[in-house]
Amino acid sequence: MPPKANIGKTNVLGLERADYKGLTSTLCPGCGHDSISNQIISMAFEMGLQQHNVVKFSGIGCSSKTPAYFLNGSHGFNSLHGRMPSVATGATLANNRLIALGVSGDGDTGSIGFGQFKHMIRRNVPIVYIIENNGVYGLTKGQFSATADEGQKLKYYGENPLPAIDLALEAIIGGCTFVARSFSGDAKQVQTLLKAAISHRGTAVVDIISPCVTFNNDPQSNKSYDYGKKNEIPLHHIDFIQGGFVPAREEITVEYGEGEVIDVNMHDGSTIRLKKLGRDHDPRSRARAIALLEEAQREQTFVTGLLYYEEPRPLLGETLHLVEEPLANLSDDQLRPSREALDKLMHAFM
């Protein structure tokens, strides 16, 4: 057994779980998104996150309303439909010490914001990018989204004639180094994956099937609670062991023994411990992760867990060779070259 996080009524900062709450949700009662918000609150509480260092981002849609419903002590930015990745890119470039949490939906990410999603991943923006995926447009009352499976039926819009976009697969193909899928009805797995994701260095995509109780919860729908509860196939039993103040290691090593356990050691000293359940899946292999998701799509199976993990690539700010200090905190002297430098330069134009 991994050591259980020693969390009582208060966390390492002396804060209670309630301190991490947000405003009251205005989503439909029973919405999968609210249970994800709850797991974000638990994750932040148990990880002892400093709320002032956390920034919350979202686009537009039901999912994108949720950053108001957790972590009231953090700055939040409910931006434009599909455009949250660019806003988060700018903000995390401006201040590299911020911990970014993005909440998006399947319409936000899979359609209008698909380009920004892919380019955020390509740049390796440091963010936990949560997709609250219900296969349907809720606020506009029940149109198919791009993640709805082919042949699926909806009340007003009939049968979906088009194949689904698998956002986890797209993330892996796009170069994302942490890709997970979960189910909002599997609270423990969601929370554990979020803890691992927030410890990751770089873009971490967590695609969470989150049923829409109003427009897409028919037991026939593979984005419904009933379906998820009956059909979820967790790849592993996952434990997250927080590294605490263990110094960062030079190299990430994933040790996969003969046995049943994979320990993924992360940059910050944390460990994701994966215990084999029904089937073999080694999240270190990109090819196998892609094959797994293609098979799941073909056979309409609902696999969850850590799909893919690799050693983090340089963050965008590192690629750009930026100073360590947040750009937003530069002094006026650092922001403005001297009078002499201007005079010298002017002579070059004479």
């Binding site: 002032h52 920034v55 455009r83 700018g90 201040n95 922001l335 134009f349």
Partner: protein, 611 residues
């Protein structure tokens, strides 16, 4: 100009009339991508170094190689830098346009063309100088890969000899053009020198045009508006540039790349300026809004199509009150339009960019000095008003080289506006017992903001494009919406007289007022002199920001006749004036919008005809 007087004797022999000194335009017609840029830059720089007031304008196609391009160089002993309708001297090096280029010359004009064309010299009223380009190039040992590109140096040498540019000046200009690299300098120089010597030995000067050294450019600089804007931004503390390539704005970001080393941290050799090439303009503006929200000074540079893509984000930033700077190097639209031709056609769109009731702050530079000044000032203004700031330059100002005074070091310290760090937030709570993001504590419409990462338990607030209260909470109540819009209105009304004020040349008693903005400046300055010579006295106001200063309103009221001169089709500044001022029966829009920089010739004709 007395070109007509010489028209009937030009073919006869050596010119014996009065010389025309430092007061004419020379144009080089070449093919795009043929290397003529080096030749033209070297000519402009050489004339500038000779102390002669000069302006070069590149009229280029939307094409990489092959289509016709024209570069016109005007020298003016009186210091005028506007485009002129007439070109006295044509370097005709593009066979595709040769007939038209020669036809456009005025009587008494001069044509330099390759001898190997064996062109029929059908015009008797101009001077032809045939240059044996092929023959001269064959004498050089230049590798064949370079030969075509360097052949344009033949006209540099011939122009230098015929009209009077010392070859040592040409050499120095070439050396600077190639950043001090001797090999390409010599390769180019040798061709120019060969042509110079050939012209000296073989051509008899039969025209009146002469360059003569002056001292009118001493202490001045020669720079493009885009370079000036980039330098201004670097001195203004830009830390994040997100952009998508688009003509004619690309060279602004290129210049940030060229000079960002001036901001490099000397201790670590790391950058304080992040430059991100985004996947589109929409993402570019999203990035700078995220960065501005998080406390960095962020900008993008684009042109019309990019501005179109940015409109939703611009409305968000206006409404959520986030500072950022957006340069629009205007080109001709709508749609793709003429992407390599100049225009002032985005002013209405930019000012009202965003759906709903938006009024964006726009700065309107008219000179390279203002490109620099507004470059740094834009960030202060954006933070002062917690709003996007658009800087509307144009292709003519942005991509051409202009004379200017060396840039003045920013006259004010960096101003982050009403931004509360931890200590200031504590002071704020001590004073008011509260802090609400969008509450108007000072009555000027501008609230106090915090940025993420502020280590204070009450620093956080939620930013949204949805309706919100002064506490930044979601609200669908009409009263909250209206209160917020009234505050935004108050903010923009206050901005009128806090933005760069209009430049005004006013003398009581003059009945005609001219209003304009941006790069029409040199054409208007010259036109006013011509008009005055004809006895037509004018006052002049050049607007430098939107929303318009109250001084613009005053100026309109002070005159019996007001002409609003702009380089767009619909008279967009005039429309803004009409929106704001009740009685505008005496206001007339003089609009050109023909894809070219404005000329004094056109302005004078319009005003004389209207009078």
């Amino acid at each position: 100009m007395c070109a007509l007087n010489v028209a009937n004797q030009v073919q006869a022999g050596a010119y014996s009339g009065q010389p025309i000194v430092n007061n004419f335009t020379i144009m080089a017609a070449t093919k795009n991508g043929s290397g003529s840029q080096t030749s033209n830059n070297v000519l402009v720089l050489s004339l500038f170094r000779m102390g002669i007031p000069v302006n070069g304008k590149n009229l280029f196609p939307s094409n990489i190689k092959g289509l016709p391009t024209w570069y016109s160089i005007r020298v003016s002993k009186d210091g005028y830098t506007a485009r002129r309708v007439t070109t006295e001297i044509a370097v005709v090096f593009n066979l595709d346009t040769a007939a038209e280029d020669i036809n456009n010359l005025p009587p008494g004009g001069v044509c330099l063309l390759p001898a190997e064309w064996k062109w029929t010299q059908s015009r008797q009223d101009i001077v032809y100088y045939e240059l044996p380009v092929k023959e001269l190039m064959a004498k050089t040992d230049i590798p064949s890969d370079f030969r075509d590109r360097i052949a344009n140096m033949v006209y540099v040498g011939a122009v230098a000899q015929l009209f009077g540019i010392p070859m040592d000046v040409i050499y120095k200009a070439l050396l600077d053009n190639f950043n001090g690299k001797e090999k390409p300098t010599k390769m180019n120089y040798n061709v120019a020198a060969l042509a110079y010597d050939w012209a000296k030995d073989n051509l008899q000067k039969r025209d009146p045009y002469r360059f003569e050294p002056m001292n009118k450019t001493q202490g001045k600089i020669l720079i493009s508006g885009n370079e000036a804007g980039a330098l201004g931004s670097l001195w203004g503390g830009v830390s994040i540039v997100a952009w998508y390539p688009i003509t004619p704005s690309t060279s602004l970001v290129d210049a940030v790349l060229d000079y960002k080393h001036l901001r490099r941290d000397p201790a670590t050799n790391k950058e304080t300026v992040a430059i991100v090439q985004a996947e589109d303009e929409l993402s570019a503006v999203g990035m700078i809004i995220g960065a501005g929200w998080a406390g960095a000074r962020a900008m993008t540079s684009t042109s019309g199509p990019g501005i179109s893509l940015m409109s939703e984000f611009a409305g968000l930033a206006y409404f959520a009150e986030i500072p950022c700077v957006i340069w629009d190097i205007t080109r001709l639209g709508p749609s793709t339009g003429l992407p390599t031709r100049t225009s002032q056609g985005d002013i209405l769109f930019a000012h009202f960019l965003g759906h709903g009731d938006t009024r964006q702050i726009c700065l309107l530079p008219g000179t390279v000095e203002e490109c620099f000044e507004f470059g740094w000032r834009a960030f202060d203004i954006a933070e002062q008003f917690q709003s996007p700031v658009f800087v509307l330059s144009d292709l003519d100002l942005g991509m051409n080289n202009w004379m200017g005074e060396p840039f003045a070091y920013p006259s004010q310290k960096i101003n982050h506006g009403k931004r509360l760090d931890k200590e200031k937030l504590e002071e704020f709570f001590a004073k008011y017992g509260e802090w609400y993001r969008y509450k108007d504590y000072d009555g000027d419409g501008v609230g106090y903001r915090t940025v993420p990462g502020t280590d204070h338990p009450r620093a956080a607030f939620f930013t949204r494009g949805t309706g919100h209260t002064e506490k930044a909470l979601y609200s669908e109540k009409s009263a909250d919406w209206v209160a917020n819009m009234e505050r935004l209105h108050r903010k923009m009304e206050n901005a009128r007289d806090l933005l760069p004020p209009p430049m005004i040349d006013y003398h009581a008693g003059k009945k005609i007022g001219i209003i304009s903005f941006g790069t029409n400046e040199p054409a208007i300055a010259e036109a006013r002199d011509w008009l005055a010579a004809q006895g037509i006295q004018t006052n002049y106001l050049r607007a430098r920001a939107l929303p318009l200063a109250h001084a613009v309103h005053e100026f309109v009221k002070q005159h019996e006749q007001v002409y609003v001169i702009e380089n767009n089709f619909d008279g967009q500044l005039c429309q803004i004036i009409r929106m704001e001022i009740h009685d505008t029966r005496h206001v007339t829009a003089l609009t050109l919008g023909d894809s070219l920089p404005m000329t004094p010739d056109w302005i004078v004709k319009q005003i004389v005809e209207k009078k």
